[in-house]
């Protein structure tokens, strides 16, 4: 029987993980060299040149952020799809993006002359440092994300724990309320503010430094580690909640753990990048085809594959219209619509 265990490391899921790890490293090394102007490795390694500055100070943190943010989205999308046993669930299903957007919009409205660290376009200099050493917008957005999740969980808590169906309905209710409040705030704002709000909600990876990367990394790594440690619990959820409970899983605590971990991860990410859509929906699906559904393989595959996917999308977003840049959130949304349709039709096909 030990050979069965050994088979697993050389099995298709194992090989897929190795391929993904190689792709991840390749993207990390090569993507900073590509862009509106390509830089050769020799130029990049020559200190003091403009090319080296662009690669090391601008493009490398951006690629790292894309790798982390994409990983966070895919891992939390995976967690939600397993929790709700629904392939159409994604990280934003419970309104974490709506809460984050509401926080950001509120901050943009209340601080018209202040600049959030990462959002410098067209705004006056002089920045206001938020609680976490970040711009007001990022701080307010993180608070909004956690507030929305807290509200959803609070609404869904029953005497015997959290009910999944109530959770979904509460998520929809909170999302709609956030959207309504955002429209209301936009109506009260002037056109410059409104433009910045719309731009924020497109989601993007522009103008980041290493500070954002260092802020996001621990959330993402810790979140993925917790979900990996819950490997057996998540696999049991695939066979049904009743069966899981009969084996000794505390469903209420498990749901709370998945929700807490994904909300922190996605909230931290959205605070830095704005809501980037569809990665959390698409990537886990694509990866299940190669790694299967065992969360031992699927979790690291999502962390790596989501990062690679978003970094490649961002590479496309900053090259196809060069020197102009497309917000990466717009690009993933453009890809996401058709993918969503395909998913619906494919599901009907094998049903």
């Amino acid at each position: 029987m030990a050979s069965a265990a050994r088979d697993r490391t050389t099995s298709r899921p194992g090989r897929t993980l190795v391929v993904l790890a190689c792709l991840w490293l390749a993207v990390l090394v090569l993507a900073p060299l590509a862009g509106s102007t390509a830089v050769s490795p020799a130029e990049a390694l020559e200190p003091g040149t403009t090319a080296a500055t662009i690669v090391w100070q601008i493009r490398l943190p951006r690629v790292l952020l894309a790798l982390l943010a994409g990983g966070a989205l895919a891992v939390s999308g995976m967690g939600f799809q397993t929790l709700f046993r629904n392939s159409l669930a994604e990280p934003y299903t419970l309104g974490v993006a709506g809460g984050a957007a509401l926080g950001a919009v509120l901050a943009l409205h209340l601080t018209p002359h202040l600049v959030a660290g990462w959002l410098s376009s067209g705004a006056a200099p002089g920045s206001w440092e938020g609680l976490a050493g970040f711009g007001a917008v990022a701080t307010a957005s993180f608070a909004g994300a956690l507030g929305a999740t807290g509200l959803v969980v609070g609404l869904a808590v029953r005497r015997r724990g959290i009910e999944t169906a109530t959770l979904l309905l509460a998520g929809i209710a909170v999302s709609f309320s956030c959207s309504a409040l955002i429209l209301f705030i936009q109506y009260l704002s002037d056109s410059t503010q409104t433009f910045r709000m719309v731009r924020w909600m497109m989601g993007g990876l522009a103008v980041v430094g290493f500070r954002e990367v260092l802020w996001l990394a621990p959330w993402v790594v810790a979140g993925a580690a917790v979900l990996l440690a819950l490997r057996w619990d998540l696999n049991l959820l695939l066979t049904g909640e009743e069966l899981a409970a009969s084996r000794g899983v505390d469903l209420g605590r498990l749901r709370l753990a998945i929700l807490g971990v994904t909300s922190l991860m996605v909230g931290a990410m959205v605070a830095v990048t704005g809501p980037i859509g569809f990665v959390g929906l698409m990537v886990p699906h694509m990866l299940r085809r190669w790694t299967g559904s065992d969360h031992l393989f699927l979790t690291p595959a999502c962390l790596l594959g989501g990062g690679v996917f978003l970094a490649l999308c961002d590479l496309a977003a900053r090259t196809v219209m060069a020197p102009a840049e497309l917000p990466v959130g717009v690009l993933t949304a453009l890809l996401g619509g058709p993918f969503f349709l395909w998913l619906l039709l494919a599901r009907r096909g094998d049903g």
Binding site: M1, W232, N235, S246, R288, S293
Partner: protein, 270 residues
């Protein structure tokens, strides 16, 4: 199976329910009732739709907590057990539902080992793989082990979940409607499996069923449940009488005895 044989535990039935009732809303679904399950039994729970069979099984496994009364395993109350500790003693196979389970047979059976895993244990151990192999052998589905569960027929999937419950190495197996939706051949396979689980694997089995003949052929004892209460509790030969069955189902039956066990025939005239 390592059946506990020390003198202090053998005094108690394996599982005992005392005055338990369950009332989720306005209506009492189960009880109040008393029930004892003895080691080595195959206990069938029969009754009309809505009699509370599934709820009773869920109470017996600890999935539901009774509103009143107490459940005990070998005399020790359920509430003194940790969830996983109870799961190492009682395994549950819910009614088969058409949900998609994107895992291979072997993976699903391995999940039966969950209550035996230590916190944060990532990889299964030799004992886990041994339990999986034994369970696959008892249920006779070794040839399916690498197949995706979604590709299997209903009968094969039922066998997989029973194997997973066996891998759990619990002495009490609780099965909810194990033959529903199965064709006669698979019904026969499950029917021949239950005595095997008792005799060869040393398990005690409790199952709910709508199939009176399945109950008559496989059970050592039958409990008739109506409106949450125990209407009758007897061996199949005594239970399968036109009088009891008519009281139970509001339908008339004829009993024939082609062999040792009675066979029931539903009469269609009003």
């Amino acid at each position: 199976m390592t059946a506990a044989t020390s003198s202090d535990t053998s005094e108690h039935p394996l599982l005992s329910a005392r005055e338990i009732s369950w009332r989720p809303g306005e209506r009492t679904v189960v009880g109040p009732l008393d029930l004892a399950v003895h080691r080595g039994e195959a206990l069938a729970v029969v009754g009309p739709n809505g009699a509370g069979k599934t709820s009773l099984l869920r109470l017996l496994t600890g999935l539901l907590t009774p509103g009143t009364g107490e459940l005990a395993l070998e005399g020790r109350p359920f509430r003194e057990f940790h969830r996983k500790e109870l799961a190492r003693r009682i395994a549950y196979v819910p009614q088969l539902r058409p949900i998609r389970v994107p895992l291979a047979v072997e993976d699903v059976v391995l999940l039966g080992r969950y209550p035996h895993l230590r916190p944060l244990q990532m990889a299964p151990e030799a004992a886990d793989f041994r339990a999986v192999a034994e369970a696959l052998a008892v249920v006779d589905i070794e040839d399916l082990r690498h197949r995706p569960v979604d590709e299997l027929s209903g009968g094969e999937r039922q066998a997989v979940y029973i194997a997973a419950a066996l891998a759990q190495e619990a002495e009490l197996l609780v099965l909810d409607e194990p033959t529903t939706h199965l064709d006669p051949r698979h019904q026969r396979e499950i029917a021949s499996l239950i005595p095997r689980l008792r005799r060869d694997a040393g398990r005690t089995v409790v199952f709910a069923t709508h199939d009176l003949n399945f109950a008559s052929l496989t059970a050592t004892r039958v409990v008739a449940l109506r409106a949450g209460r125990v209407l009758a509790d007897a061996c199949p030969g005594e239970m399968m009488t036109p009088e009891i069955l008519e009281k139970l189902f509001d339908a008339r039956f004829e009993i024939v005895r082609p062999g040792e066990r009675p066979v029931t025939l539903l009469r269609l005239e009003p």
